[in-house]
């Protein structure tokens, strides 16, 4: 069993009778990068703010395991910085609270590539630099859990790539658990190990990276007949993914084995019932959101 770092039980938030987060249950495991996916106004920021205590829940509990609220580093919405102070001074303010030395400030500024600009006023920084400084701020005091809300919002492709690489490095080198939210799904797809889908304040689905990749890849559904055992034997031998359903077998096609499988199906004279083309994370998101909407309706 994996170690939990954060557990959320029946968390609910209501603003003037409007429920913005419905009874939510959630578990975050130590060391993972969890991607929170949802469109603008879905409840991602509210969820993050509730975890940090920036807003108070109407009901429910936020439980930290082997850590406390002091062990959270966060970047919520826009970077919150003193624009009239230097990058170093902004770091120093939090460093006083977490009692870290100047070396750690310099080390973190170096990690985010801002060591050379540490004496520059933040008002002169680009948005990407501010985002990176906010991440450095969040990392001060060696947090065990990092909450990043839309960290690539408003960044150019180079800035997005820099932040993405930084997040992966932080997770690997410092073993920090990361909860990251974004509506730029392709970015989350590249960094997260697990995904949660949220819409209208509802946590409606959770999926692992492996399962998501399977769901997004091309699928061929063939009808079961007398030759199906031969097909399954071949698939097992080639370590290919498939699912046996009542009358059909769903085969997950990866780019490097598509021709091989199609020729095998052809050779065994199996009937192809349906084919689903490869989907992007966006397509998958739209599909399940639509399904969720229909379900709620």
């Amino acid at each position: 069993m994996e170690d939990k770092i954060l557990e959320i039980k029946d968390l609910k938030k209501t603003y003037r009778k409007r429920e913005v987060l419905h009874n939510t249950n959630f578990i975050l495991n130590t060391g993972e990068i969890y991607g929170l996916i949802g469109r603008n106004g879905a409840g991602k920021t509210t969820f993050m703010k509730l975890i940090t205590g920036l807003i108070k829940p109407t009901s429910g509990k936020v439980i930290f395991h082997n850590c406390s609220t002091n062990d959270i580093g966060l970047l919520i919405e826009n970077p919150g910085l003193y624009l009239n102070l230097s990058a170093y001074d902004n770091m120093k303010i939090k460093a006083i609270l977490v009692e870290t030395n100047n070396n750690e400030i310099i080390e973190l500024l170096e990690l985010v590539g801002l060591k050379e600009c540490r004496k520059m006023k933040v008002s002169k920084f680009s948005l990407g630099m501010k985002q990176r400084l906010s991440i450095a701020l969040a990392l001060l005091g060696n947090p065990k859990l990092l909450l990043l809300d839309e960290p690539v919002n408003g960044l150019d492709p180079q800035g997005i790539s820099e932040i993405r690489n930084l997040i992966i490095r932080i997770n690997k080198e410092r073993n920090i658990t990361i909860l990251i939210s974004s509506h730029i799904l392709s970015e989350l797809g590249l960094v997260c190990s697990r995904f949660g889908f949220i819409d209208n304040g509802n946590f409606f689905m959770e999926i692992s990276r492996e399962k998501l990749e399977l769901n997004c890849c091309k699928q061929i559904i063939v009808l079961k007949d007398e030759n199906i055992d031969k097909l399954i034997e071949c698939l097992n031998r080639a370590r290919m993914m498939y699912e046996i359903e009542e009358n059909e077998v769903k085969i997950y096609i990866k780019e490097n084995n598509e021709i091989k499988i199609v020729s095998l199906i052809d050779k065994l004279s199996l009937n192809i019932v349906n084919t689903f083309e490869k989907k992007s994370l966006e397509d998958y998101y739209f599909k399940i959101t639509e399904r969720n909407l229909r379900h709620n309706a």
């Binding site: 966060l74 001074d89 609270l97």
Partner: protein, 268 residues
């Protein structure tokens, strides 16, 4: 607690804002001193105006002039401008989000703010001393250093009253969490609302129960404006009690408000 105090102290004195206000304090103090100088020496006025009595009674030492500058509610206007910055800035720029989750930040929030308010007021008092010193070189010829003992009591009382007034502004700032609104309310209160309010309350009480009552005896601003270097012991005790009561009540209210409210920052 030490960390919170140091952090707030660091933020306050790293900000250019208080130094800019300090320059204004210096300028206004110099202008006031020039006003006294011009009236007293160039026009040779020896009237019964209270403000000049002290100077004419041969109490024209350095600290007597310094006390004259901060008498009334000279510092309150600057307190009304500075306290909203101390409270609202971290909400305005969103920095509070980075540190709000720290338990110490929540526990000792008000202590840090009170120390910052005190430090800023003490800084402005120091500037008035500086302005008085410079005016001595340029305009006046001080007869000695004046009554230091009385000055210390007088200035400590003024600082205490201004911290108490700062606590009222602190609550207003915490309530609105908007720099501009809090500043406007504070300045209007100092400049005109305060006297108007007291007069209205006094006349309402007189009208209702036919008792001559002065609400300003029980308010920080009222006591502050009545303070002189020669205030009696009873007045001093009353001023101290009222200021301490104001500080306690408004600090507790501000702290409760800070803990109870959600943090929704209005970042630029």
């Amino acid at each position: 607690m030490r960390k919170i105090i140091y952090k707030d102290f660091f933020v306050t004195f790293k900000s250019r804002f208080y130094y800019v206000v300090g320059v204004f304090v210096f300028g206004v103090a110099l202008l006031s001193l020039y006003g006294i100088y011009h009236t007293l020496f160039e026009n040779n006025i020896t009237s019964n105006y209270a403000i000049f009595q002290m100077v004419n009674a041969n109490n024209n030492g350095f600290f007597d002039y310094a006390a004259e500058i901060i008498s009334g509610n000279f510092l309150s206007l600057f307190v009304a401008i500075s306290v909203p910055v101390i409270i609202c800035e971290a909400f305005g720029n969103g920095y509070i989000k980075n540190i709000y989750n720290f338990s110490e930040q929540k526990k000792y929030y008000i202590i840090g703010k009170l120390v910052s308010i005190f430090s800023v007021i003490a800084f402005y008092v120091f500037i008035t001393l500086l302005a008085t010193g410079i005016s001595g070189i340029v305009m006046f010829k001080f007869k000695g250093i004046g009554n230091v003992k009385k000055y210390i009591v007088f200035v400590l009382l003024h600082i205490l009253c201004n911290v108490a007034f700062g606590c009222v502004i602190m609550l207003i700032s915490e309530l609105f969490r908007k720099l501009s609104i809090s500043m406007i309310i504070g300045v209007i209160y100092v400049v005109m609302l305060c006297d108007l309010l007291y007069q209205t309350i006094n006349s309402v009480v007189l009208h209702l129960v036919n008792v001559k009552f002065d609400i300003s005896d029980y308010t920080v601003m009222g006591n502050m404006t009545k303070l002189t270097m020669d205030s009696e012991k009873g007045d001093i005790i009353r001023t101290v009690l009222i200021s301490v009561a104001f500080i306690a009540v408004f600090s507790v209210l501000t702290h409760i408000l800070f803990l109870r409210r959600d943090v929704n920052c209005n970042e630029k």
